[in-house]
């Protein structure tokens, strides 16, 4: 995750509290998703960006996961997500992100 995005997420977490946030990805490829998730949960693994050593524990979803799409109004879903749902294979990303979220909820117990 680039430093600019890390900075934005850190600023929002400071402003609203990380427990009130979720990060929604729009990636088209599986590669990189794991690092994205790790960055906003455990901190920047490269120890170079604004989230180095900052474990925000924010859950991460892909925009095409049902948890997200079901909360999007039907007209907006058709307009913004229908095409992407035909193009992007979300399942491999869902597996990675589900594992990350489960790790997070286990840690919270």
């Amino acid at each position: 995750m680039n430093f600019e995005n890390q900075g934005v997420i850190k600023r929002l977490a400071d402003q609203y509290g990380p427990e009130n946030l979720a990060v929604v990805l729009g990636n088209g490829e599986t590669s990189g998703v794991e690092v994205f998730a790790e960055t906003v949960t455990e901190g920047d693994p490269s120890y170079a960006g604004p989230l180095a050593g900052v474990a925000l524990k924010i859950p991460v979803y892909h925009v095409l996961e049902p948890e997200v799409t079901e909360s999007v109004p039907e007209n907006l879903r058709q307009e913004k997500l229908e095409l992407s749902s035909l193009v992007i294979d979300v399942e491999p990303m869902r597996q990675v992100l589900q594992a990350s979220r489960e790790k997070l909820s286990t840690a919270r117990l």
Binding site: G28, E29, S31, E79, K80, E82, L83, S84, L86, V87
Partner: protein
């Protein structure tokens, strides 16, 4: 019938592509240069992963770029292409060439009017490819070159020795430093080579060119005019187009499509008889993903400066033409989502011609070579673009969902262009498109380019431009009078 049903055609007389193989300039690419400051030890690793000219020539993607392999033939080539060289590959292509590093340094020196480039006279004398008389090159001894490098000139390496060096253009102006001027002069030199080669292939005198448009990406100018531009005129001069005027048309990667529409409009208006659209290579993008390539133990594949030149003119009967009134632009208020871009740049132009997405035989999109982009996590860019177009066709009921892969295979192609920004963006397919149209293998092709305007921090907008090419059914005269 809509006003657009009657075609306005501008002839595409020819195209020439060139790849200058410059492995020892990879270190001056933006990403390697930055990483090498932090980790100088990377230089050895980088040097050990550079390709020879022979390997660059025999690389299947390059052979496709210069026209010796069709995109269909490339799909059948065994991957990875960098491990499966094309036997008997030639540096001369059907509509392009590969230039070795030594020849590129000479082109650079010939394009230099400000004594920025010095070449080592011993190195030059030892070149196997001779230098013709009458080239005004600034020659120096090896000791003089070493002294200049000591003072801050950039080294132009050749194997284990120096071929020359590149000096700054000004002591204080940060826009005229050696690295920026090397980028700019490399763009000029490679574009001029492509334009000269196009003229030779068309057996046309450069003096007969009316206008040159450059869509190169470099910001040419001094501290008061950063990006002021008109590299076009410098390129035209270098190619001997002494009767031509020129100017630059830019929009990041979408530049070439806009440049072609502007050029076609100059011809349609009657202002110019012909227009050459040219672009030089982007030195900043050399080695952009080199770290991923090193991690995957691959050769560094971003080691070429790519350039092209297209000549537009009045349409001739049965000639492949740009259908000018099919051109579509991405509007300020239009959506930048993949769907919005596909609607605006593919569906919209076809709709006004009364065509469906499935009426296009071949789509030319951003044709980035996936062998370069996939290892760094950027994905297979053309494949994603083709799936997006197929998905839109599904949503419009023109295609069944289980036909998407057929659409991608039959109306798309595998990417083969180097990641040089403006170069992969559709224009890379033009040479093959002209061949396929002339041979009747396709009846049309939709060219779609996209640009990332947000990279310049002036707007969050994206951009794009598209148009259809097809054979003219009639010549200019009947087109105008009819």
């Amino acid at each position: 019938m809509s006003n657009f049903a009657r075609p306005v055609h501008i002839g595409i007389d020819g195209v020439f592509y060139s790849l200058a193989h410059v492995p020892q300039l990879v270190r001056f690419g933006s990403k390697p240069a930055r990483e090498l400051v932090d980790r100088p030890s990377l230089q050895d690793e980088l040097n050990g992963s550079l390709r020879s000219f022979t390997d660059a020539v025999a690389y299947a993607a390059h052979q496709t770029f210069i026209g010796n392999l069709t995109p269909e033939a490339l799909r059948a080539c065994k991957a990875p292409w960098f491990e499966n060289s094309i036997e008997g590959a030639s540096e001369k292509g059907r509509f392009g060439d590969l230039v070795d590093q030594g020849s590129f340094y000479r082109l650079l020196a010939q394009a230099d009017q400000f004594n920025l480039v010095s070449l080592d006279q011993q190195w030059l004398a030892g070149l196997s490819r001779g230098v013709s008389d009458g080239q005004r090159l600034q020659l120096r001894t090896s000791d003089q070159i070493a002294a200049l490098i000591q003072k801050g000139a950039l080294p132009l390496g050749s194997g284990k020795r120096m071929a020359g060096c590149f000096e700054p253009g000004h002591a204080e102006d940060v826009n005229l430093t050696a690295d920026i001027l090397l980028e700019n002069l490399a763009a000029k030199a490679t574009a001029a080579h492509a334009l000269s080669s196009l003229m030779a292939s068309l057996q046309m005198a450069p003096m007969d060119v009316d206008y040159v448009i450059s869509c190169s990406e470099e910001a040419v100018g001094d501290r008061y005019n950063r990006g002021g531009g008109n590299l076009a005129k410098a390129i035209a001069e270098q190619a001997g187009c002494m009767n031509a005027a020129g100017t630059d048309v830019k929009s990041f990667c979408a530049g070439p499509m806009y440049a072609m529409v502007h050029g076609a409009s100059l011809i349609q208006s009657g202002l110019c008889r012909n227009v050459a659209v040219v672009a030089g290579g982007s030195l900043a993008k050399l080695g952009m993903k080199f770290q991923s390539h090193l991690e995957k133990r691959m050769p560094i594949l971003e080691d070429v400066l790519a350039s092209f030149a297209v000549l537009l003119g009045p349409p001739k009967k049965n000639q492949p033409c740009l259908r000018l009134n099919s051109a579509s632009f991405h509007r300020v208020g239009a959506a930048s989502s993949p769907q919005g871009m596909a609607e605006g740049l593919a569906e919209a132009p076809l709709k006004k011609l009364g065509m469906k997405l499935t009426d296009v035989d071949r789509y030319a999109v951003e044709l980035h070579n996936p062998e370069i982009t996939v290892p760094s996590g950027s994905g297979d860019v053309p494949r994603t673009n083709y799936r997006t177009l197929a998905a839109l066709a599904v949503m419009r009921g023109q295609l069944k969902k289980d036909q998407m892969e057929d659409f991608v295979r039959d109306r798309g192609m595998v990417g083969y262009a180097p990641t040089q920004g403006h170069i992969p963006s559709a224009v890379s397919y033009l040479g093959h498109a002209l061949d396929a149209l002339r041979a009747g293998r396709i009846k049309n092709s939709l060219f779609i380019s996209k640009g990332s305007l947000f990279l310049g921090k002036m707007t969050q907008l994206s951009d794009g431009c598209s148009f259809l090419i097809e054979n003219a059914e009639e010549s200019w005269r009947s087109n105008v009078e009819g």
